[in-house]
Amino acid sequence: MAAKNDVLIIVPAYNEAQSIAYVLTELQKKVSGADIVVIDDGSTDNTSSIARAVGGVQVIVLPYNLGIGGAVQTGYKFAKEGDYSIAVQVDGDGQHPAGQVEKLVAAIRRNEADVVIGSRYLVGNDEEKDFFRRLAKNLLSIAISFFIKQRITDSSSGLRAVNKKVIYSLAHSYPRDYPEPESIVLLAREGFRIKEVPVRMQERFAGKSSINRLKGIYYLVKVMLCIFVDMFKDPLQLVDAG
């Protein structure tokens, strides 16, 4: 292992052979002082061997596809075991620009919040083109904002940085079904401070969004239901957090 840093970048990847090398080299180029771990979520292509070939990156391979929630949580468990102070989540499909990672880390370092989420809608110029997806995301964000009494503009953003306390919390329990929006609600209920910072997302490098348009309404209803139930869950009580 290379010299250990106190920041860990978690890159969940499921069949991202086309984009993973680009994502990793970009991260290595544009983020200094961070370790990178790729969580290969049971890919059927050669995502993990490509990631290993990049070098200087840790690769954890899940024996079967756990889904994004299980994959990301593996990263948080790894961060907890490695005693990292900050963990950053970056998707393996190339839509999160590596240049934005340090901005999120800086916000955590300045202790502006416990969770910092990169929002593509705070910038304003990066509107979702598809009407239905825009509507769905707006509704979701409005619902979450209402529930946690704080304005959230991009609840489905998977680009986020968290501090040590949140690493402990997420390593212990991470929502399975719709982790991005659900974790916002659950973390807010645990009393963590959440902050959004504007980021510019890139066009997806390869592959398609996991949310396709026809399933959009079904997705929305299910997420809303999950979030509604989340509001009534007892917040986690962790005593061993650093």
Partner: protein
């Protein structure tokens, strides 16, 4: 309760008991999940052998009609299925936890082995 009804219910109860017993014997059913089914079989047998128990309970609950008895039966089966859903969820969570730990341990093992190979190479030089 007619004689035929009693025979049918005794048959059903006995069938459940024998089947459950056989599944445990073949190690296809764990004891912890079998109690429920053994209990169901025994209750059915008791009802058929001593119908007065059934009449007493239905009188107590004011369930005199077949439809309400059916509803009670439906509730019983629903609660069993729900119970199993809870168990399935529990197992899914445990499986996820184990998978994640396995993957992290595998990573650790690989890292150690690589380190060991490197030191052996250095020692050999």
């Amino acid at each position: 309760m007619t004689f035929l009804q009693r025979i049918l219910i005794i048959g059903a109860g006995a069938f459940i008991l024998v089947l459950t017993f056989e599944l445990i014997r073949r190690r296809k059913l764990n004891e912890e999940y079998s109690l429920l089914w053994l209990g169901t079989g025994i209750v059915l047998l008791l009802f058929a052998l001593f119908p007065s128990i059934l009449y007493y309970i239905s009188g107590l609950l004011h369930l005199h009609y077949l439809t309400t008895m059916l509803l009670a039966n439906f509730l019983f089966l629903t609660s069993i299925v729900l119970h199993f859903s809870v168990i399935i969820s529990q197992h899914t969570n445990r499986e996820t936890e184990l998978t994640q730990r396995l993957a992290i341990l595998e990573w650790k093992l690989n890292t150690l082995e690589r380190k060991k190979a490197c030191t052996e190479l250095e020692d050999g030089e």
